[in-house]
């Protein structure tokens, strides 16, 4: 010990290596062990969850149809200046590609892809491929004779634009914009603008649900936080039970309660508040979505609020009042500011969960209560416009990730509470 203090640079571990080095090595090993423990799950989440999402992101800009199914047209159009009608060589390439893609049964995919950009393209291509046997050289005249739309330069500009491997057109469509024939970005015609209003509706409904959850959750959390633990633990079960009950069960019960022949309407008729013929429609519309989602998301507001309020000592309020503050003033100027971390955490969590909600709006939303998620599902399952579904999904994901980042800064994921 005395020796060590005399020459501090000479401090060594038992095996003779300098202590500093030995410590650094040990720390590195411990860091590595800690990281290695987390690695299996990290890899698992990467492969089963993050890679699929990344794959979907690439799908939102991928544009393989024209390029892979009409390779000759793509090549022939590469040097086309886009001013006048393409020459015979391009039409000959179109003939060969049409025959090949008809045989390979891929012509429909090209037609659908082009139709997303310009309506009428599908019918043009399908009509032409049906009559392809009758087309003979000179191809240019023959194609134009089959359908005069082939003489339209805009059609060719579209085909050329769509032959590039990547496209922004899905993202443009997702925000109600499109390319005009010359490749400029313009707004969709008024009657086709559906996605921006839907995004706005999703935000509006989510905000409303968040506000309702705060309005209902704040007093309840306050009550739970101020009651003795024995009673509040019992009452907490009432908050946690919905949290643990199947989503579909809760949605079913709202259908049972709110529908026209449902429990609530029956009750109102029986009391005499409404007439039997004027039953209120509370479900299969926005009202239904808002009520059911508020119910489902309320526990996510109460839990963080409660855990923050538990830590606020009641003596603060008493101190404020003894100094002459009116109870209201004491509440607003002393208690409420202290609950802000909980309010922030709860509101962000509810809002994040609300904007991505799918099941409840799909089952009780009718048409006016549909959110952006339902549109994504529609394009995934019904219209099969997967590129657009991926673009809408990516925009929603970006919104959620920004909110998640804020949540992480504000609350920290490691402080998330589950019951």
């Amino acid at each position: 010990m005395a020796q060590a203090t005399a020459t501090p640079e000479q401090l060594t571990a038992a095996d003779g290596t300098p202590l500093k080095l030995s410590l650094a090595r040990a720390m590195r090993r411990r860091r590595l062990t800690a990281f290695l423990l987390a690695t299996p799950l990290l890899l698992f989440v990467l492969v089963t969850f993050l890679m699929p999402i990344f794959d979907m992101l690439t799908r939102s800009v991928a544009n393989p149809e024209v390029r892979s199914y009409w390779p000759e047209v793509t090549a022939a159009l590469a040097d086309w200046d886009g001013q006048e009608l393409p020459d015979e060589a391009v039409f000959a390439a179109l003939y060969r590609d049409l025959v090949a893609s008809k045989q390979a049964r891929t012509v429909g995919k090209v037609a659908t892809r082009l139709n997303y950009e310009m309506s009428g393209m599908r019918s043009l291509i399908m009509k032409t491929q049906r009559k392809v046997r009758r087309i003979e050289p000179p191809y240019r005249e023959a194609f134009i004779a089959t359908d005069e739309r082939w003489a339209d330069v805009d059609v060719w500009k579209l085909v050329k634009r769509m032959s590039s491997p990547y496209t922004l057109s899905y993202y443009l469509a997702a925000v109600d914009l499109r390319f005009d024939p010359d490749g400029n970005i313009v707004a969709q015609p008024e009657n086709k603008r559906i996605y921006v209003p839907l995004f706005l509706r999703t935000f509006r409904i989510s905000l409303l649900i968040t506000a309702l959850c705060l309005l209902l959750g704040f007093p309840v959390s306050y009550l739970l936080a101020t009651l003795p633990l024995r009673i509040s633990n019992l009452l907490m079960i009432m908050v946690l039970l919905p949290f643990w009950t199947s989503l579909l069960v809760r949605t079913t019960s709202w259908i049972v309660i709110l529908q026209q022949q449902g429990v609530l309407n029956d009750l109102l008729v029986w009391i005499g508040i409404i007439d039997d013929r004027n039953r209120i429609s509370m479900i299969y519309n926005q009202t239904g979505t808002v009520i059911a989602m508020t119910h489902i998301l309320l526990p996510f507001m109460v839990l963080p609020l409660y855990s923050v309020m538990r830590t606020i000592s009641p003596s603060y309020m008493r101190a404020a009042q003894s100094l002459g503050a009116h109870p209201w003033e004491a509440f607003w100027r002393v208690y409420a500011p202290l609950t802000l971390p909980g309010v922030g955490a709860g509101c962000l969590l509810v809002f994040i969960l609300a904007i991505g909600y799918y099941i409840t709006p799909a089952l009780v939303g009718g048409t006016s209560g549909q959110l952006i998620s339902n549109m994504i599902a529609y394009h995934m399952q019904k219209s099969l416009n997967w590129g657009l579904a991926a673009a809408l999904g990516t925009l929603l994901l970006v919104a959620v990730l920004i909110l998640y980042w804020v949540y992480n800064r504000l609350v920290g994921v490691e402080n998330m509470k589950l019951g």
Binding site: M27, R30, R31, T33, A34, F35, L37, A38, T39, P40, L41, L42, F44, V45, T48, F49, L50, P52, I53, D55, M56, G217, P219, V220, L223, N233, I237, M238, L240, L241, P242, W244, T245, S246, L247, L248, V249, R250, T251, T252, S253, V256, Q259, G262, V263, P327, G356, Y358, I359, I376, A377, M380, W386, L397, Y404, N408, V413, E414, M416, L418
Partner: protein
């Protein structure tokens, strides 16, 4: 919240208004769940209380929809699927999540915040995006319409809950116990199974229950990834709600409510046990 004797009239009025409001919120929370239970014993194929039910006429009640449930091969198949998928996903998620939590709770863990936010992501990303993405990706790997695909997807969705609960349990964990075990000659595996695991078990089990209910209740991924063969209970309920077939779904819902009550009670007991083990007094 007892009212002091010197409270003014305004305070009294406010106090009662406040309590009534809170009672209203509790009714709002719990009534929808309770209303389903009596309706599932309806003798008629309606989703509402019949006059006989209101008169408490025993004739108006029956076990008809429960009988329908246990005699319907589709539902039984769905029950089997749900149990297979949920328990496999739970086992995987709990194992992976617990090991990861052991690393994450160490003071030396590098990049803790980043790793944690990645691991929690499956809970935050909207389920429809996850389901759509998995559908594309798993189809390429031939995992769509297979049990493996759904189990992997549900495992990914369940792990954040395990990570959160187990890390929370480990924050109160006394690390000197590990050092004590090691100084007495126990290897890392022996230390884990004999010292660490028994102490964090309540957290691990709560995490496992969360993972189980996540998978057991999940419908969107199943909608996208499952074929007819892999239909689960929620998937069957989804079909029932969409097509309004019969109150059998009310009977199923009642059974699911009982299951969730049992799970909730277990988690609550475990939480108290965990607090006691860690010496925290409530």
């Amino acid at each position: 919240m007892a009212l002091p004797v010197y409270a003014t009239t305004a305070e009294r009025v406010w106090h009662y208004v406040f309590n009534v409001f809170c009672a209203g919120v509790f009714v709002f929370l719990i009534a929808p769940i309770l209303v389903i239970i009596p309706l599932s014993f309806n003798a008629e194929p309606y989703f509402t209380f019949t006059e006989g039910m209101l008169r408490l006429d025993p004739e108006a009640y029956s076990l008809r929809w429960y009988r329908d449930f246990v005699q319907n091969p589709q539902w039984l198949h769905a029950v089997k699927n749900s149990i297979i998928i949920a328990s496999s996903a739970t086992l995987l998620a709990t194992t992976l999540g617990t090991i990861a939590a052991l690393g994450l709770s160490r003071a030396e863990m590098p990049l803790r915040k980043t790793v944690m936010s990645i691991l929690i992501a499956p809970m935050i990303v909207p389920i429809i995006i996850a389901a759509a993405a998995m559908y594309f990706f798993y189809s390429q790997l031939d995992l769509a319409q297979s049990y493996t695909g759904i189990i992997l997807a549900h495992t990914a969705l369940g792990t954040p809950f395990v990570v959160i609960t187990v890390t929370a349990t480990l924050t109160g964990f006394d690390r000197s116990l590990v050092r004590a075990a090691q100084s007495l000659g126990a290897g890392p595996a022996f230390t884990f199974f004999k010292v660490v695991l028994p102490l964090i078990l309540p957290g691990v089990i709560s995490g496992a229950l969360f993972a189980f209910i996540t998978s057991f209740d999940e419908v969107v991924v199943v909608l996208f990834l499952a074929g007819y063969e892999q239909r689960t209970i929620p998937r069957q309920m989804w079909a029932g709600i969409r097509e309004q077939i019969s109150p059998t779904i009310l009977a199923v819902a009642t059974i699911l409510i009982l299951i969730s009550i049992a799970l909730l009670a277990t988690v609550e007991l475990l939480r108290r046990r965990s607090l006691r083990l860690r010496g925290v007094r409530e």
